[in-house]
């Protein structure tokens, strides 16, 4: 079936309609992330906002970035944030105050920043900009990434390794006694925390408790 050249009854191009729908979805769900009372719903609306953004990338023609957005943000970061939400939900019920008491100042600051950015975009004429997006295939992007930007690529991989090690180090519990460690295995159990070696892997030194 052949689609008509423009949207029926509206006389818009299909691109414009898709752009408006995706942009409205993204801005609306981002707003709901920020002002929503229930933090789990905030997390789920964040998934929707990132999905709409992936659609915008695809509409622009940046297919590789769209795929990476789905993989990294929808697949990894959203799951990580939802896990963190579940780990830090307090049993005491929903929090009464979502915002700080100075939220009005934050609103003014955000409106001023947004207004400045929008004004600077509208007042600048971009003389080099093309009227239509320029098609770049994934092959072009890959050639650039592993050609001109290969040093940055390697640095990024080291950074990710450092982040993984740092995340494990920060989030691990160090109060679980290790039965194979002779320093923490004491017969009467009274002096076990005093003689415990501070941090087996060079972790933070535990304060020695008085028995």
């Amino acid at each position: 079936m052949e689609l008509p050249q423009t949207v029926p009854f509206l006389d818009w191009r299909w691109d414009d309609l898709i752009f408006l729908v995706l942009a409205g979805t993204m801005l609306g769900s981002a707003l709901l992330v920020v002002v929503g009372r229930d933090i789990i719903r905030s997390g789920l609306f964040m998934v929707l906002a990132f999905g709409a953004l992936a659609g915008l990338y695809a509409l622009m023609g940046a297919t590789l970035v769209a795929a990476a957005q789905v993989l990294v943000y929808l697949g990894a970061i959203s799951v990580l944030i939802l896990f963190a939400i579940m780990l830090t939900q307090s049993k005491a019920g929903p929090v009464r105050l979502v915002f700080h008491s100075q939220a009005w100042a934050a609103a003014i600051a955000a409106i001023v920043i947004g207004g400045l950015l929008i004004a600077s975009v509208l007042l600048t004429s971009w003389p080099l900009a093309a009227a239509e997006p320029i098609v770049q295939t994934a092959r072009d992007v890959a050639a650039l990434m592993f050609g001109d930007y290969v040093l940055a690529f390697e640095v990024i991989s080291v950074l990710l390794l450092a982040a993984v090690v740092g995340g494990i180090f920060l989030a691990r519990r160090d109060d679980i006694p290790d039965p194979s460690d002779p320093a923490t295995r004491i017969e009467d159990g009274s002096a076990s925390r005093v003689t415990g070696t501070p941090g087996v892997l060079g972790g933070p030194a535990r304060p020695a408790e008085k028995p």
Binding site: M46, L64, I77, L117, W126, A129, P133, Q136, L170
Partner: protein, 103 residues
């Protein structure tokens, strides 16, 4: 109309302003991190838009956007680990109750 550099840049500006408000106003540390992610996404949208519409940049915008995504993933990992480590001591994710850090 919509397929122009201005449209995408205005969208990025709006998204960045929303993220700014969330980062400054929310009490929950994880909501603050989500707002940071929204701001990073707004910047990424602007970078990709520049890369797609300006011929001199041919493809560099997408490469830089992929790097920003990797850095954002690293930031989310370490940030959430810090939030969970603080939550384990303080039993609350609300940043305005971490008052002992400023003493």
């Amino acid at each position: 109309m919509s397929q122009s550099l201005d449209a995408y840049l205005l969208l990025a500006c709006g998204l960045f302003a929303i993220g700014t408000f969330g980062f400054l106003a929310r009490r929950n540390a994880i909501a603050m991190l989500m707002s940071v992610e929204i701001m990073l996404n707004a910047v990424n949208l602007a970078i990709v838009a520049f890369g797609m519409f300006i011929p001199a940049l041919a493809g560099a915008g997408q490469v830089i956007a992929l790097f920003v995504m990797a850095v954002a993933a690293a930031e989310a990992t370490v940030g959430l680990a810090i939030v969970i480590a603080i939550y384990r001591n303080r039993r609350t994710p609300l940043v305005d109750e971490y008052a002992s850090m400023r003493e």
